[in-house]
């Protein structure tokens, strides 16, 4: 049905184009001079059919599911959901849907079968309504577009205005995404802080996001103090940066100043490969190779370490960040003006002294910007820590211990069932909010440093 709506729209668009072009051609053939080229008349007609109807179809598709659900809920016998929490009522709706989809388990209550039939009917109505609406609106727009054709009609300006509007819409899409992120996170985070006080989340030192499933279950109430989770992220990121920063800086210094040209052009792309490897691959590498190697090494020197240490996750993350820091540092070093370099050499400095005492200090702002971006990468990195770090939050800064991280908690809390009304799932959004804010601040700060520094030497 969706497909036929799209095909209908495509047909109407092409029809509009050719109708208007033909009309314009015939006006010109009559000896009158046109303001715009014929193809612009066609383009204007095509766009004025395509754009509004396509927008309509997309909005319809987005809202359809919720609308059908709403009608279904209205049609259910009154009192169906009395005394049920949202999980149980979702279950009923899901059951009706699976009956409608032909997957019947056991003998469902008759009212559920009736509801399923109604659901199928609603879906059918929605499908036909969409096709009918597309046909009607396309016809109206087609008629309107056809009526515009005339010698004086400024078809080029009109068509270009539509195209410009479309491009502006595309450009603001990025803003919509950011607004979407902020709204989604804020919404769920506010719900979370209505259940768990803000101060407990920010300063509590115990993170146990289990909640009792049944009313009478004897279980811990669940604790949502996020400090140990933040601490875990900090420990792992620190390990990563301790690996990545020295290695990245040293290789950038060598490649920028000392390496023969051929070595440089061979090594740089190979280093970039490290940046292109998907993080899930790094995660598996940490589990398969690095963590056992660390354990074995620790066993030979007589230290007992956890199977999923912060060291393993952090060091693999560090390897991932090497090309990131190296290319930023390389750019920063290359941006230092030639005159500083030549001046130092002319005064008799060795190339090593010139690098350490002149070039490197001059490049430090750019390098700091790169390192800050690497920090934001490290705290936002998900798959490596999900696979290689632990799940249990501990108040420790020992990298040989098993720690958890913010992203690990987000993923583990949200994998599986998700209903948006318990603190367990909502806490993931609160953690996500913290992560988003932290990376946002670091990014803005880092980008400003990098930009400001570029301006100095430009």
């Amino acid at each position: 049905m969706v497909l036929s709506a799209f095909l209908l729209l495509l047909g109407a668009t092409l029809l509009a184009y050719f109708l208007n072009r033909k009309a314009a051609i015939s006006i010109r053939a009559g000896g009158t001079q046109l303001h715009s080229l014929e193809s612009f008349h066609g383009l204007f007609a095509a766009l004025s059919v395509l754009v509004p109807v396509l927008a309509g179809i997309l909005i319809w598709l987005v809202l359809r599911g919720s609308a059908v659900d709403w009608f279904l809920l209205q049609s259910l016998p009154e009192g169906t959901f009395d005394g049920l929490d949202s999980g149980a009522s979702q279950l009923i709706v899901a059951e009706i849907k699976s009956i409608a989809g032909g997957r019947v388990f056991g003998t469902p209550d008759p009212w559920k079968t009736e509801a399923a039939e109604r659901l199928l009917r609603y879906n059918e109505i929605a499908d036909w309504a969409m096709v009918a609406l597309v046909a009607i609106s396309a016809a109206v727009l087609l008629w309107f577009a056809r009526s515009t054709v005339g010698a004086q009609f400024r078809a080029r300006q009109s068509a270009e205005r539509i195209v410009l509007g479309l491009m502006m819409f595309c450009a603001t899409a990025a803003i919509f995404v950011t607004i979407g992120i902020v709204f989604a996170l804020t919404f769920e985070t506010i719900k979370f802080f209505q259940i768990v006080p803000f101060t407990e989340f920010l300063f509590g030192t115990s993170w146990e996001p289990q909640i009792p499933i049944r009313e009478d279950q004897v279980a811990a109430e669940g604790a949502f103090g996020a400090v140990p989770v933040f601490l875990g992220t900090i420990v792992i990121s620190t390990v990563a940066l301790l690996v990545a920063v020295p290695v990245g800086l040293m290789s950038a210094i060598y490649l920028n100043e000392f390496a023969p040209h051929r070595l440089r052009s061979a090594v740089k792309p190979v280093l970039e490969i490290l940046a292109g490897v998907p993080t899930v691959v790094y995660g598996f590498f940490a589990v398969l190779t690095v963590a056992p190697a660390i354990r074995q090494f620790a066993a030979t020197i007589g230290v007992d370490v956890a199977p999923n240490t912060a060291l393993a996750a952090g060091s693999v993350m560090g390897v991932m960040l090497i090309p990131f820091i190296s290319s930023f540092a390389d750019d920063a070093l290359s941006a230092v003006p030639r005159s500083l370099r030549d001046g130092a050499l002319a005064l008799g400095a060795t190339r090593g002294e010139m690098m350490l005492n002149v070039l490197f200090p001059a490049a430090i702002p750019g390098i700091v910007g790169g390192v800050l971006l690497a920090v934001s990468r490290a705290i936002g990195e998900t798959m490596i820590v999900v696979m290689a770090a632990g799940l249990i939050a501990k108040m420790t800064i020992n990298p040989l211990d098993s720690v958890t991280a913010v992203t690990v908690q987000i993923v583990t809390l949200l994998i599986g069932d998700t209903s948006f009304d318990n603190p367990k799932t909502l806490s993931a959004f609160a953690l996500g909010m913290m992560l988003f804010l932290a990376t946002l601040f670091i990014n803005i700060f880092a980008l400003r440093i990098v930009r400001k520094y570029r301006e100095i030497y430009d």
Binding site: S66, E160, V163, L164, L166, M167, F169, C170, A171, T172, A173, A174, I175, V177, T178, G180, I181, A184, L185, V247, L249, I253, Y254, F258, A259, V267, L271, G276, P278, T279, V280, V281, G283, F285, L288, T289, V319, G348, T350, R351, G352, E353, L356, L373, R377, I379, G380, T382, M383, V386, M387, I410, L414, T418, F429, G432, L435, F436, N443, L447
Partner: protein, 434 residues
């Protein structure tokens, strides 16, 4: 450049300075050598990590490229199969009878002892036989030769991953089980052909049956959706910002916004998709369509940035010439600038899509890590994607999944390398120097 100390300084008072410089020069040069040494060591470390990474994946993934199979002569017993109810036949009994001919000492009528023999075969063996009989019912009453996969433990034994030298109590197969396998091997029933199931079958709980078909198709639909959304929007946004946008506050905000969006952690996009696409719009869980939409949001900044760079690289003379012969501003862009910038745009798009193909975290949050045993038929079906399939397999406890995870990673890396190679080829073939 460093040995510029003048030899001709002669008898003037700077003589002592020259001496001092000469004396300290060796030490200063040594310092430089140390600095270079650190640099070489850093590069060697990074490169060796890459080699270890690839090496460990290849060595652990290599065994999964073949799969141990057992060839059996099966008599399709008319007593076990009812021609009117072909799917309900006793196919495991037929396989057991066939295997029993190799082991006269085992009482195949006793279920428990028969089980000790039939567990050499994978659970998929009877399904394979069943499918074959359903397809050609005339096989009933005939004896056919079929080659079925062996169970994971025996596969590992055959590849030497379970070592016979290990003490029996630490081994996952006891001596009797190994002896039975050797009997089959000696009879020539064991073969290890290429593991085509890795590509042609969907996921399974049993490592010997699990394949990537569902994941590859799921990734395809997700990437297609991602491309269809992010490519037009990205190009439109880039053209507007580069060619038409007035220099004002709004343009600045949009620009800063795009740069920041490129650095937002991927898991946050997953949260967005979960709350908005699944929560508010009620879209289906685990669908490649939703996955593709999420990936599109992440790819958008990459494509915008690449497109703007490509547009910037087109020299102003092209624009001025087109304007000079009377083209409108949009005609200049769409007829002249955009076609010239296309190779650069496509290169950036392919690189962005390659990143999207490897992205895992947002797909986990929208449920694309479900266990699904059939390949999706469209973008609305539940499916996994290649990286999430790797994550599922990496989490599976069965030993056989370790090598399969590595093999799946090698498949993913092959796709990524191919995409990047295409991007590099495009860039070199069509890049113009102005």
């Amino acid at each position: 450049m460093t040995d510029t100390t003048p030899e001709t300084s002669g008898p003037n008072p700077s003589h002592s300075t020259t001496e001092m410089v000469r004396q300290s020069l060796a030490r200063r040069n040594r310092k430089q050598v140390v600095l270079q040494g650190f640099g070489v060591a850093a590069i060697a470390f990074a490169l060796s990590m890459l080699v270890i990474l690839v090496g460990s994946l290849v060595t652990s993934g290599y065994p999964a490229l073949t799969q141990t199979h057992v060839a059996l002569e099966v008599f399709v017993d008319p007593e076990e199969v009812d021609p009117d109810n072909l799917p309900g036949g006793g196919y495991d009994e037929m396989l057991a009878a066939s295997l029993g001919s190799y082991f006269p000492d085992v009482d195949m009528s006793d279920r428990a002892s028969a089980r000790t023999v039939t567990k050499i075969l994978s659970n998929g063996a009877q399904l394979q036989l069943r499918e074959q009989v359903i397809e050609t019912p005339s096989l009933i009453g005939e004896t056919i030769t079929i080659t079925v996969p062996a169970a994971d433990n025996y596969d590992q034994l055959n590849k030497g991953l379970i070592q016979r030298a290990t003490p029996e109590e630490n081994r996952r197969l006891n001596d009797a089980e190994i002896a039975r396998f050797d009997t089959l091997d000696a009879a020539g029933a064991i073969s290890t052909p290429l593991n085509t199931a890795l590509i042609t079958s969907a996921d399974s709980r049993f490592p010997e049956l699990a394949g990537l078909k569902g994941a590859i198709i799921g990734s395809f639909w997700a990437l297609l959706t991602c491309f269809l959304i992010s490519f037009p929007i990205g190009i439109g946004a880039a053209i507007y910002l580069e060619e038409f946008a007035p220099k004002n506050r709004l343009s600045d905000i949009i620009e800063i916004n795009i740069n920041n969006l490129a650095a937002v952690p991927s898991v946050v996009f997953g949260l967005l998709a979960l709350a908005v696409f699944l929560g508010w719009f009620g879209m289906p869980r685990s669908a490649p369509l939703v996955g593709g939409m999420t990936l599109a949001l992440m790819t958008l900044p990459t494509i915008i940035i690449a497109t703007r760079a490509a547009l910037k690289a087109v020299p102003p003379s092209i624009r001025e010439a087109a304007l000079g012969v009377g083209a409108s501003k949009q005609q200049v862009v769409f007829h002249h600038v955009l076609p010239l910038a296309m190779p650069g745009i496509l290169t950036g798009t392919i690189i962005g899509l390659a990143q999207a193909l490897g992205e895992t975290a947002p797909l986990l949050l929208i449920g694309m890590n479900a266990f699904i045993t059939s390949a999706p038929t469209g973008p609305f079906d539940s499916a996994t994607a290649l990286p999430t399939q790797i994550f599922i397999w990496a989490d599976s406890p069965e030993r056989g999944f370790v090598s399969r995870t590595s093999a799946a990673i090698l498949v993913l890396l092959t796709f990524l390398i191919t995409m990047n190679a295409i991007a590099i080829y495009l860039r070199q073939k069509f890049e113009r120097k102005w």
